[in-house]
Amino acid sequence: MEKLSVSHSPHIQHEDSSKGIMIDVIIALLPAAIAGCILFGWYAALVILTSVVTAVLAEYVCCKVMKRPNSIGDFSAAVTGLILALNLPPELPLWMAAIGSIVAIVVVKMMFGGLGHNFANPAITARIVLLVSFPAAMTSWINPLGLENAVTSATDVNTVATPLANDSYTYGQLFMGQVPGCIGETFSLLIILGALYLIARRVISLVTPLSMVATVALISFIFGEDPLYMILSGGLLFGAVFMATDYVTSPINWKGKLIFGIGCGLITFVIRHFGYLPEGVSYAILLMNLFVPFINKITTPKPFGWEAAK
């Protein structure tokens, strides 16, 4: 008889895996990614490809250099690359996309200890680094397929304004991606579909995206802006669904997620309404990332039977 293996309990585990969760996120991102490629053309697909491949390669090289086990198989690097790419303008030079991925993986993620140890969202930080480093390229937009006919100078990238800077788009256009913008963040309908998929698969909780979006809508209303336009334009929906919900850089429980979501919404609005920046979602989430340890601390639940012991 073979030797028996001995281990501590429990001896069964649920079949869900971290890799499975990452694959779910990729599935949820795919519709928006594919739509981005169709709307903005084949070059957008190249941007996505460059970003994803560079992210995975960067993680592989990091693991080699740091003498860590190879971790590209958990797909987290691919998710980071994909989320970053969908946040980039469709005509961005490819080498810039590659730099973004390298910053995200090497600086933000691996140098802080790899998966689970980064305090800021890698994709968001990389996007901000790109925005600060290459402001012109990072704010050059093109019109999507379908809008080209209406606007004669569609190929002149610098003349097109995003909906946030130009409120002449209809809700329908915002909903169906008929606006200029980042590769993956214009098609609101597909982002909402992705969100529903992730919620149905219990990958994300509704609390963060809902509180973030609702906060923006409410304050927009108070300040006399159009709440629905605010929600559908820019990167708000994409950020709320795919970036504010990043496990590592958001609070653990629903109370924390609520505080986090409201904070993200507030900062987003403040930047959009009062600031000079074109968009506030990335900064809002990054700033709130820094508050996560504190939020976790103040929302640590009291254990069962705690009050009875007092």
Binding site: M1, E2, L4, S5, V6, S7, H8, S9, P10, H11, I12, Q13, H14, D16, S17, S18, K19, G20, I21, S71, D74, S76, G114, L115, G116, H117, Y247, V248, I252, N253, N296, T300, P301, K302, P303, F304, G305, W306, E307, A308, A309
Partner: protein, 470 residues
């Protein structure tokens, strides 16, 4: 059909926990009595508390029920021979708990002659009950192994007002309590009435998970007209129905305070703190006993055994265990003499279907893995799981992605991920600030973890560190 309002609904829901696969493969198989093995090895420590000292020596003749070990400490329970035969020696054994215990080895004569000195005890007062429980060797049969007489020794001036009979059986695979509910219903109910009379409970709640409709039906004292219509209890089982009916209309429950509660099937429903909260809404604080919140929790099989002992005088010498798992040929419930080796039990169940890679005392969530197949069956065992290669497969740990599922699953509302990272850097203050000492080690966090981290073990280590620091 049982009217829904006649079965109690849970008072509170603690939240958390995990939806486990039930895998109650053996639920509908009648329990089978196993013939005595050639040799039994009976450990002197089969309970929480002081170990027993053998009171027999090599060459002594013993019968079924002869006392072979006892202790003068209060928190302990005597040990009895499970076969008739000759003591062939004393030995020692390393238990999965890490304790080493003395053992009494007995060669069976195959006759299973009961000890002629055994006679049913007279139980008329609470003291009689406590003495009977001690003499019977009864320990908590749900798995904990806490000596029952300690629990029953209540303060007569301030007795607990609520008795909760734990029939939740929330671990996968295990069906021994379920079979007890179906096969020994009247013993359970009689035991309940006896406890109620002698201790003076104001209410008794028999709590069963809703994945055991037949147990609920069998236990429900209001089944008289309708057995077998909806849930499919054998209608031809007239005698049982009748016996039940008689018990049900007995004057012992004149105030109709013995009620059945249908629990949600969610792990760890049967954990003491969880069950008390579900059944009564009372919260058991850290380090307190159920009696501090006016409750007593007893396992269904314990109550049933106590009643059997009072009727027959035969102490705890055998145990119904669920034998299941992918590597065993015939999964079933077996009534096993205590001290029988696991390998004898597996042989009785038709041997191995495939090579066993891991063998557990108890269920897959809280059970202990044993090092070899010659380990004996203990009093508090309710299952032997023989896992095959696939079931015993080790999961590869990956980094924590801080998804928070462990915190969501924790019935004690802890955040295992935070405790793990605090313990890793040796920050005991943070471990304490996250209340690691509240952990009941149910295993839900490890079960749900997508990164397959050994969270429950980390929690045990965190608790040990906190204890050492004190």
């Amino acid at each position: 059909m049982v009217k829904s309002e006649e079965v109690l609904r849970p008072v509170k829901d603690i939240g958390g926990g995990a939806n486990l696969p039930h895998r109650k493969n053996t639920a509908e198989k009648e329990s089978v009595m196993m013939p005595p093995p050639e040799t039994v090895v009976i450990p002197m420590q089969q309970h929480i508390g002081a170990p027993c000292t053998p009171c027999v020596k090599k060459g002594d003749t013993v019968y079924v029920g002869t006392k072979i070990g006892d202790s003068d400490k209060f928190v302990s329970a005597p040990i009895h021979s499970s076969v008739s035969g000759t003591v062939s020696g004393l030995g020692s054994l390393l238990l999965p708990s890490g304790q080493t215990t003395e053992t009494v080895i007995i060669q069976s004569d195959g006759q299973m002659t009961p000890d002629p000195d055994l006679k049913p005890p007279v139980v008329e007062t609470l003291e009689d009950l406590v003495k009977a429980a001690r003499d019977s060797g009864l320990v908590g049969l749900g798995g904990a192994g806490f000596p029952s007489h300690v629990k029953l020794n209540v303060n007569p001036d301030n007795p607990p007002d609520t008795l909760i009979i734990n029939g939740a059986e929330c671990e996968p695979y295990i069906t021994s309590d379920y079979r007890e509910c179906v096969e020994n219903t009247d013993n359970i109910l009689e035991g309940v009435y006896l406890l109620k009379k002698l201790i003076g409970f104001k209410q008794v709640i028999i709590a069963v998970e809703n994945n055991k409709p037949k147990a609920i039906q069998a236990l429900n004292k209001l089944v008289e007209n309708v057995i077998g219509q909806d849930v499919g209890v054998d209608v031809s089982d007239d005698e049982k129905t009748h016996a039940l009916y008689k018990v049900a209309t007995d004057e012992r429950d004149a105030d109709n305070s013995v009620r059945l509660m249908r629990l949600k099937s969610r792990y760890p429903q049967g954990a003491e703190k969880v069950l008390i909260y579900t059944a009564t809404g009372r919260k058991l604080p850290l380090g307190k006993l159920p009696s501090d919140v006016g409750c007593m929790v007893m396992n269904v099989t314990s109550v049933s055994f106590l009643n059997k002992y009072i009727k027959t005088g035969m102490p705890l010498v055998s145990k119904t265990v669920t034998v299941d798992g992918g590597a065993v040929m015939n999964a079933q419930n077996v009534i096993v003499p205590i001290g029988t080796s696991i390998s004898d039990v597996i042989e009785f169940c038709g041997g191995y279907k495939s090579p066993a890679r891991k063998i557990l005392y108890g269920g897959p969530m809280m059970g202990n893995a044993v090092v070899d197949v010659n380990m004996p069956i203990l009093k508090q065992n309710n299952a032997i799981l023989v896992l095959d290669r696939k079931q015993a497969e080790k999961r590869v740990e990956s980094p924590c992605i801080r998804c928070g599922r462990c915190a969501k699953a924790c019935p004690m509302r802890l955040q295992p991920l935070e405790i793990e990272s605090a313990l890793r850097i040796g920050n005991l203050e943070a471990v304490k600030a996250h209340y690691a000492d509240y952990c009941i080690e149910c295993g839900s966090c490890s079960y749900v973890c997508p990164s397959k981290r050994h969270l429950t073990q980390v929690m045990r280590m965190a608790k040990a560190e906190l204890r050492n620091k004190k």
